[in-house]
Symmetry: C2
Subunit: 948 residues, 2 copies
């Protein structure tokens, strides 16, 4: 895919290295490095025991320099000489690329420590006993890395203290071997010609491409083959090397693939003969190394005259706010950060893109509300209802009020609760499905374009924490049984292979139990918080009831309070989820991630939506009726929806929480936190501060090396927080969209910023992550699907129960004398005889506009006081109730049907892509068969016979 | 998996061949055949022009016999000598296995025909002009097969007429090459040790295994590795041949893999230089060959003293009715018929197995109904309601009747409409989900066990019909443009590669339009048929109204009529669907299948269920009320449910149609049709009759050869009919299960037979199909899922609307004075004043039991005639209505929730399997890395270093 780009060059101002590079690059296949290099090998047991000094130079162990290199380079001693050029990405020979860096601290010491080689006991495998052991492990590990075929370059360790770096280079032999084993697909020489389309479709397509051209990232950032040609990819195989499109062995494997291969080796290499003494992760957990990371490819802000390095390109094309209308350079992202991160940004990009139509429709719906505000019969009737006396909204203190007082909120309510709301809900439910279907397709396209189709997962290594726990458990076990632990697992073969590689169920169950209880407790905390805010609202409302317009203030402060509580709890829940997951101590990194995500999602989802659910479905539903109010606590009547109705309140609640959450959480905190963290890191900076400060003073002196600069960056900590944030937002956009059509627009604005913000974070502030492969977005897809399902039923109920849509419709078609909504307001109010108030609940002031009130009205459908069974639900109530339920059934099944239909007609794999993949497979297979035949000399080179 | 079984041996009584075989098998790797054999090659152009006689012997072209063979065999002339042993599966040399057979007829002729080689023109490519061309194509095709590396053996063509056979053998070289290209996974030497389980779980598991042991097929038929060891499979690769578990190159690839490879070659081989002149399918379509098939492995009924061949094993272990309680020998089926057919039987087996619990629960529900029949309050009240006069069920002729007359059907109705019906519906909805989840897991297990995980689909070749249509279209086009067609596509390279390889959209659209219209018409036909039966029922009912008990007769005949109509239409629709799909002329076989399935499913589904849907949801719903009946046609009142209620009728309808359909369609016709077809084939028998009859007469003479016997068998025509039959049954089991709890039991009984019936068909009566690979059951899974979704909503409505569950519940909790059902019957009947009958609709006989009737009762909830608004729906009606709708919402969402929950907690990949797969991948990868290192001599052979 991306083999066209120029090979990475060091970006510093060190022309000599650059010249050397240029020479190398120009050379065709078979240039330096293509001969398998034979490292000078020492027998392992020998080197373990006879090496006199632990601070050995790796020089003697590393592979011979490539034959093309001048001899002076080969014998140049490593220690103390030939400083690295600042920012260079190559070994000192200027030729071998640094694919990975390991960093470890050198403690302050007086003279080189001598360590005797003594057998380690197992308990110490996870309780390192100091520098000696660390040094021993490092030495063993690095020796094994060299045996695995990597080239190492190590800093001079004679310096007093500070960080020491080991730089790793994967030569062709190792890369090609692992590419084959990892089944990495690489471009072959076989070219697939994309069909030129003809006809109207093609013209429309060309026009479309021309239109969106300004939105595309610049061509160099797109990194695709020149159309209409495409090199077909095939699983790399060394014995078919000649079939692959190798311009130069140096650049055939992308940096991200190189780092993947090195990571694979780091993961598998032993550092001692004990069980589980495998892999860099354990070493980092034990503090043997501080960090292991691939290098960024130069500075992100460089001189503009040289061809920009990929990091610069990313920064300019992707991280720049001025590029906010452009598509993301996905191939560049993938080549730089790997497929997993590429997938996230592809997903985010698609989501943001598809938010555009829904924002537009939402805006139209809103504008429709604005423009029809004055023609709306029910709100006009409210505004003119000077003579309708409403029952007071709270006991004693509240007064009777005129319906016309709620004129403004009735008009406002119309903005969100009008005829097109139902349509918009349907639209958004389908939109959500459409988005998911589109994502499935996009994912397939990416799988194809990024050659992921053959990628299979293998068993992961257990997490270091799990292994430590396991060892501890075994020791306890052996203590109990009286057997020495050493003897029980003395044979590393046995126990590595063997039976008990898992923690006992009891421990796990206990942790799961604790988790469940804690999560339930947290739910209760959330609900308590919601309840507390309700209490606040109730008490303040009745206290302030005498002041006019106090309602607005009470609502406003209550919602703000809600928002603050949500934000605080969100932070707490983040820690709680991490704590609980650590307690459960899952075996592998994937399990850990899945469990953490599950908890985070549950807690944050409930936290974000609890108050909204309350307003939508509970507020004002269980308040009884005048004369028979239901009390939450003595003296505190259950909340009634304000004069504007329930949907109006829902809308306010939703908009403030959504906007506030995004503004504060996503933007302020996401910008602020990294800056704060960076500041803190700058202060400690791994003991590099002094060195760096000295260098910075001496402007003529050498600059910081690339690996020093990268070490100070924040390590990449996974995509879960990014995904979660977006998923919660997706919930706002879909679940309650019926009540707030502007939600998609809010989300869109946020995401456009979010992409660039994340981009800057990845390019600027994070250490370059290892380029992981991933075929999909994993568990998040299922969560999205779940939210989509929830959204259908919630929307159905919001329309049926919270909005006034059903009563209006029932009135219009069953009760209205002329089929219009005239008279609806009067019909929707029941009458109450004030003499039926429970003693003590009647208002202090029994007058309204100077007259003593005899009857007041309230929103409900009950028989009048003078009928046979006063205050019994009347027939209209049952009609409306049946209509509400009927609506839910119809709405839900209609959407489910449409959703499945959309899922059916949109194939998961785009048809053209499907054809192309199959065609490519066929071409490739024919080519292979042909290849075989040619190799065995069975077919004459008859050009007519060549497969198509 | 299955490499342990003995190599296939010829089953005839020819010991000499057997001895030879035994010798071969005993030899280790590197025995005969391991040297790449170099066939004597002729330059293609030469042989095309200079071969003087078309009836050439293939002997001179075929590869040299393996070096171990005696020289006498090598020079033994082929023609006229050394008849094949009867039933032998090997070439005459007794050593090379026959992997595929091509058959073609030899016309009656006087002397060998000489054909000049002249360039063919394209139009003739699809209009073969006689024997000459056929002979030429055959020759070219067979030459190319030999060039592709196959060994051929051809019958003597000098015989006057009859069938001629070409037998194909794939030598090791071809097999290994294609296995690599097709990415076939094969067992390696690397062994995975399955963990011995310990603890209670293991004991339970052991006990379980012991319990079901009698149900397992016999060990030899299971064909698995000896536990606890399993050879890990890995994509075959020739340069890693030493890593694979090859006991003998002769038996390493299973017969099904061999036939797959040969089929692959047959598919790709050219028979002329023209476009599309590729592949055996085209040749068969053109009549160049009559058939191409792999051979069955001997007789299915053989002597019992020799070790049974796989076909015998299948027949004994699988096709025998006496084995009906046993599991199917799935590995054996897969090894014999390939993965696709294996998948079908695995699916059918799982479905049948899981029907057992649902049958049991269904039976319990039914028995509950039986045992509580006498304690049922409503039916007791019906039986005692001597004094309730019901309004007549039809105009004029019908009399008033006593509610107590419907005592029997009320009691019967209770069998299916009782308290546990809701529970059973929920159970069955979950069961369906559980079944699908289980199938997903089973599928994963099979994918793993059958090594299918790496299998990718490649582009299929167009169907011959499509190509013919395309050529025709091109000729028309070139005629129009005036260009000669020959010149337009003279360059085969271009047009094969090039632009127009598809039919124009217009043609396709036209066909799709015709299809849609036809399908809609067919729907109308179905509905018309249902309507006609209703009309029949209405008219006969009113004609027979004067006779007592005529109702039963009318219902019975009507349902039978329905059944007959369904059966007839099913047959018609089968042809219609095939016809329409042919009209659409899809490009590939998969497309063809998908389109055909879609049509078949739509038509047959609607046909099977239309009448049932009518009874469930429409019958008795739209009949108006006494005094205001609604008329379907003048004089024909809309149908009312019988005295037993609607669910009772639904139950009758369902049971008769389901039982009848299964009995007649699945069993009678499936047994009868093949017999009939076989009889017809025996009559024509491809001109082999005379020969065979002669041989049969001469008992001492040679028996029929295997390929002759197989040719006479029925060709395999795909699995769609088998699947469709089961899917329709699945619909009966799930969609309306609320009304007929015995449906699963019926299905179970049918399927137990069905499996054995199908097994016998495959083993006995079908030509052996090519062993196709398939990872899943394809489109059928989605159809199953769709049916499951439909079933939830239909069940919800059946319970809410058709059954009396909701009215009973509402009465019990809202109206009953004592919380019991006493008084329910009276409450559920409204009163009608007979003076309000529309003139002409009142019954002729205005008396009941001698008294003149003043008021009659009818089933509805309306106000009494003496109330303010007579016959208006009363409050109870609205309560019940709201309850019905509320029930649907709760039921549906509850099930959806539970379903998703089940889907969430049952992982798609069984956890153990997932771990095992990942572990195997890791072991394999470690082994590969180790292997590499060993090969390059970089790691000492330190046993401690060997990866785990």
């Amino acid at each position: 895919m991306s083999q066209k780009k120029a090979p990475e060059k060091p970006t510093g101002n060190h022309t000599s290295v650059e010249m050397e590079m240029a020479d190398m690059v120009g050379k065709p296949l078979g240039g330096p490095g293509t001969q398998p290099t034979k490292p000078v090998r020492k027998k392992s047991s020998e080197s373990m025991t006879s090496d006199p000094d632990l601070y050995y130079s790796v020089e003697d162990l590393r592979s011979e320099p490539p034959p093309g290199e001048p001899v002076s380079n080969r014998i140049r001693p490593m220690l103390g000489q030939g400083k690295h050029e600042a920012g260079a990405l190559f070994f000192k020979d200027g030729y071998r690329r640094i694919d990975y860096v390991l960093a470890f601290p050198v403690p302050r010491r007086k003279h080189p420590v001598k360590v005797e080689h003594k057998p380690e006991d197992d308990s110490s495998a996870f309780h390192p006993e100091g520098e000696d052991q660390k040094v021993r492990r490092r030495r063993e590990f690095e020796k094994n890395l060299i045996e695995a075929g990597l080239d190492l370059e190590r800093d001079d360790e004679t310096k007093d203290h500070g960080m020491c770096f080991v730089r790793l280079h994967a030569p062709w032999k190792v890369l090609s071997q692992y590419a084959e084993i990892l089944k990495i697909k690489m471009p072959t020489k076989k070219i697939y010609e994309l069909k030129e389309r003809t006809g109207i479709k093609a013209k429309a397509y060309a026009l479309w491409r021309k239109t969106i051209k300004p939105l595309q990232p610049s061509p160099q950032a797109k990194q695709v083959d020149k159309e209409p040609y495409k090199h077909i990819s095939y699983t790399f195989s060394r014995d078919k090397e000649h079939m692959f499109h190798i311009e130069s062995r140096e650049t055939f494997f992308k940096p991200s693939t190189r780092s993947l291969v090195v990571h694979e080796i780091l993961k598998r290499t032993r550092y001692s003969q004990k069980d589980y003494a495998i892999g860099i992760t354990n070493l980092i957990a034990q503090g043997v190394y501080t960090a292991a990371y691939p290098l960024h490819e130069g500075e992100f802000e460089g001189d503009t005259d040289i061809p920009p390095n990929p990091r610069q390109m990313l920064f300019d094309e992707w991280g720049s706010y001025s590029k906010f209308v452009k598509f993301q350079p996905l191939n560049l992202i993938r080549n730089y950060f790997g497929e997993k991160i590429g997938m996230y940004f592809a997903w985010l990009g698609l989501y943001t893109k598809l938010l555009i139509p829904s924002s537009l429709v939402g805006l139209i719906v809103f504008l429709y509300g604005v423009f029809t505000m004055d023609d709306n019969v029910p709100s006009d009737e409210v505004c003119e209802a000077y003579n309708i006396t409403m029952c007071p909204l709270c006991d004693r203190e509240c007064k009777y009020w005129r319906l016309s007082d709620s004129c403004k909120s009735a008009k406002f309510s119309h903005l969100f609760d009008n005829e097109v709301t139902v349509f918009f809900s349907i639209f958004m439910s389908l939109w959500a499905t459409w988005f998911l279907e589109n994502w499935k397709r996009k994912q397939m396209e990416l799988n194809y374009a990024w050659d992921l189709s053959g990628f299979e997962e293998e068993e992961e290594q257990p997490r270091p924490e799990y292994e430590a726990r396991l060892v501890k458990h075994r020791i306890e076990q052996s203590d109990k049984t009286g057997q020495g632990y050493g003897s029980a697992s003395g044979n590393a073969e046995d126990s590595g292979m063997g039976e008990e590689v898992k923690l006992p169920k009891k421990q796990t169950l206990f942790a799961v139990g604790v988790s469940s209880v804690t999560i339930l407790t947290m739910f209760t905390v959330t609900l308590a918080a919601v309840f507390a805010v309700i209490m606040y609202r109730l008490s303040v409302a009745s206290a302030l009831a005498i002041y006019p317009n106090s309602g607005q203030i009470v609502s406003g402060t209550a919602v703000t309070l809600n928002l603050i509580v949500i934000l605080i709890l969100d932070e707490i829940y983040g820690s709680v989820a991490a704590f609980l997951t650590n307690l459960e101590c899952p075996r592998t990194e994937t399990e850990y991630e899945d469990k953490l995500i599950f908890k985070l999602f549950l807690l944050k989802f409930v936290n974000s939506y609890a108050s909204i659910f309350y307003v939508a479905f509970f507020k004002g539903r269980f308040m009884g009726r005048p004369g028979q109010y239901i009390y939450a606590a003595p003296g505190l009547r259950m909340e009634e929806c304000g004069p504007g109705g329930c949907l109006y309140e829902l809308c306010i609640q939703l908009s403030i929480i959504m906007a506030g959450k995004q503004l504060i959480q996503n933007n302020v905190m996401e910008i602020g936190m990294p800056k704060l963290k960076k500041f803190l890191r700058e202060c400690t900076c791994f003991g590099l501060c002094k060195e760096r400060a000295e260098r910075a003073e001496d402007k003529a002196g050498p600059r910081d090396t690339r690996w020093e600069e990268d070490l100070v960056l924040e390590p990449f900590s996974g995509l879960s927080p990014e995904y979660l944030e977006m998923i919660i937002q997706f919930g706002f956009v879909t679940i309650f969209v019926a009540s707030f059509p502007l939600a998609p627009l809010l989300a869109l604005v946020n995401n456009v910023l979010e992409i660039r913000l994340d981009a800057r974070k990845f390019v600027q502030e994070l250490r370059r992550p290892m380029a992981e492969r991933a075929k999909d977005i994993g568990i998040w897809y299922n969560i999205l699907k779940g939210i989509t399902k929830i959204s259908v039923i919630v929307n159905a109920f919001v329309i049926a129960i919270t909005s006034n849509f059903i009563p209006r419709t029932v009135y219009q078609y069953m009760y209205s004398p002329d089929g219009s909504l005239h008279g609806f307001i009067d019909w929707s109010l029941s009458t109450f005889n004030v003499s039926d108030f429970e003693p003590g609940s009647e208002p202090r002031d029994n007058r309204s506009l100077g007259e003593v009130v005899q009857f007041c009205r309230y929103r409900d459908f009950r028989d009048a006081p003078w009928e046979a069974e006063p205050y019994k639900y009347n027939l209209a109530y049952w009609h409306i109730f049946a209509a509400r339920l009927g609506f839910v059934i119809c709405f839900q099944n209609f959407i489910i049907f449409l959703r499945d239909f959309i899922g059916y007609i949109i194939p998961d794999v785009p048809k053209e892509l499907d054809e192309q993949i199959k065609k490519e497979n066929k071409i490739m297979m024919d080519a292979l068969i042909h290849e075989e035949n040619v190799r065995q000399g069975e077919v004459e080179m008859d050009p007519e016979k060549e497969p198509l």
